[in-house]
Symmetry: C3
Subunit: 267 residues, 3 copies
């Protein structure tokens, strides 16, 4: 958060508002405590009980239960944030949780492959190791995983052609090979693979961008995501969810970008 | 560093200055070498002796000894930078060094919990593992760690009310749940916990932001930090210290932000 | 990529272009498949065969073979990106590949030491561990590694003097110790060490900056790199190569910076 200091002089009305907010928050906290189940690992409960309480009462007792984004989608968002951040230690838990929440094995492997392009090869290769162990323990067979070949989706061809021309124009002048890979491999091949829906590709791309603080690419992908069926409410919830998995500052930096994209689309 | 090429034509006076600087630097280096103790691990001395020399003579022989920031505070800054960067391999060493420098066990656990919000849950959970082993080896009992509940600090209530209204205004319109978590959990609960002073919460928040390159949130937190008692000299030293723990570019990007915050406060 | 939506209305001509692009891409893909050797680890082929195919056919079958950047330089770029990103799991493979491609052992250790300053001490220290094992297995003796002392290169002294004055001016006012370390240690000592050529120091610095998304320092270092002998074609290829090792968004964010530096130098 920045520039909060720009708000005018404090007044008594604020103190009253704060008191009210605190009262509501306190009632909510009590309610959460009742509802909370122990999700935090035993070691977190032992060493950092306050963090365990936030984990159980807020993150899993409240955030994950919010209906604005389905648990399956929250798992996709979380998995994307973990891969983008290189959080291998947390992948086992969240790959399992994702499978429990309805993410299919081949959606996990397709997400890893997709994010090789958006978070880099090393992040993806490290995720493969974690996925392998999870699949093995659950008895998931290789034929349930995304295959090398995939049906080729036909996207919005006019829009794609436009995009390809823009890439050639903007990228090609400086780095022609990168423009070629972008058009023929990234968008011409990867985004057309059927092992992940375009909507889910947008979901994990946006999540990875927010988690890694790459706001410059967000406007294009928020728009593409909404074209692919993600709603404003879902995207706001993605930002909120990622605040917990990549830290508040990443979410706060994504907010104004989302705000301006949303505003431009409702004109 | 950028735009250094914008300075005018070279002149002989510069060469003279440089010669003088080199002379002083060389004398300083000799002095450092005498004072330096071996801090770099044996393997670093063996494989990268130049890095070991920089570690012993500059980082520990000079930076850590500068009186502008106490060793205890340098440990807090370093620990925050390590957590923010996910440098688990270095945590054991620096948790131990921190404890030796007067950081209390419950300040380490409170810092981990605090940074869950600023660097994301996965970073915090990974730090818990490293802390557990350090505590166990030193015979630190669980009752010395930050408890789940904490005394509730009363902060500058008028300022907090303003901040809460600004959050509702700026965040609430796009992501109402995130605004609620920000006001009722992050600032309404975490920042009011007594297991870390507001000054130390600012210190570790600012350190994490600089280390992760999140300049957008820096103006708010530099101001909050100075309101909480951190001085301009201490904050400049935090930036200098973090140059070594997160790399020069992070420090260089934080400098102009600090400069403009400092300037605005001295008006 | 951003702002691609700003291009005008779609037209039939685009669809025709796309069809042509797809045809060419498909022919290229077939050609690549024939040429490709299995580089992806067995586990990647098993769990994520599509990622393995992209690895074998595109990354190693095409990118690494492009003559615009020598394999030895690609290894330097990759090693720098891995160190900057903290990808320790991939270092063993790429340290070995680098040595096979002609990178000398002391260039690896000098790169690690150099990047301590640009990516932070923890990243460098973690890389030392990976390097040690690789050197041991290959029977590389310690006397082949960069020594503590090094011959001192004389750089462009007038330019250096200018740079030093600019640092004193811009950094010194806020953080005098950081200005001193920058002039006497970073540029006065590290950059003058002879165990890495200035051209290679620029190459790994630029690679680390792009991989970590630190565009603010890029203009200075792209210019310095070109002064040190790197060409525009090589730098464009560095960006392209890093798209695969740090993700597309990092490359896309570096492109406009490179574009404006290139443009300013050709005036």
């Amino acid at each position: 958060m920045n520039d909060h200091s720009s708000v005018g002089d404090p007044m008594k009305v604020f103190t009253a508002i704060l008191a009210a907010v605190s009262l509501v928050a306190s009632a909510q906290a009590q309610e959460r405590k009742t509802a909370a189940q122990k999700v935090a690992p035993a070691i977190v409960q032992e060493i950092t009980p306050a963090l365990a309480a936030f984990t159980d009462e807020i993150l899993f007792g409240d955030v994950w239960r919010r209906p604005e984004l389905a648990p399956r989608d929250r798992s996709m968002v979380t998995i994307a944030a973990l891969i983008a951040g290189g959080h291998t230690a947390q992948m086992t838990g969240h790959f399992n949780r994702g499978l429990d929440n309805g993410v299919k094995p081949d959606e996990i492997t397709a997400t890893i492959t997709h994010l090789a392009f958006y978070a880099g090869w090393p992040r993806a290769i490290s995720a493969v190791d974690a996925a392998k162990d999870v699949f093995a323990k659950r008895g998931i067979e290789l034929d349930q995983l995304a295959a090398e070949s995939s049906e080729v989706l036909s996207l919005d061809e006019a829009g794609e052609a436009q995009r390809a021309v823009a890439v050639d124009d903007q990228v090609g002048a400086i780095a022609p090979a990168l423009a070629r890979y972008t058009n023929s491999v990234l968008f011409g091949d990867l985004w057309r693979r059927a092992d992940l829906t375009p909507r889910d590709r947008s979901l994990v791309t946006i999540s990875a961008l927010i988690a890694a603080g790459q706001s410059e690419q967000l406007p294009f992908h928020l728009n593409r995501g909404m074209d692919n069926g993600l709603t404003q409410i879902q995207l706001s919830e993605v930002i909120t969810h990622i605040a917990f998995y990549a830290g508040w500052p990443r979410a706060m930096s994504a907010l104004p970008v989302a705000k301006s994209v949303f505003a431009a689309r409702t004109k």
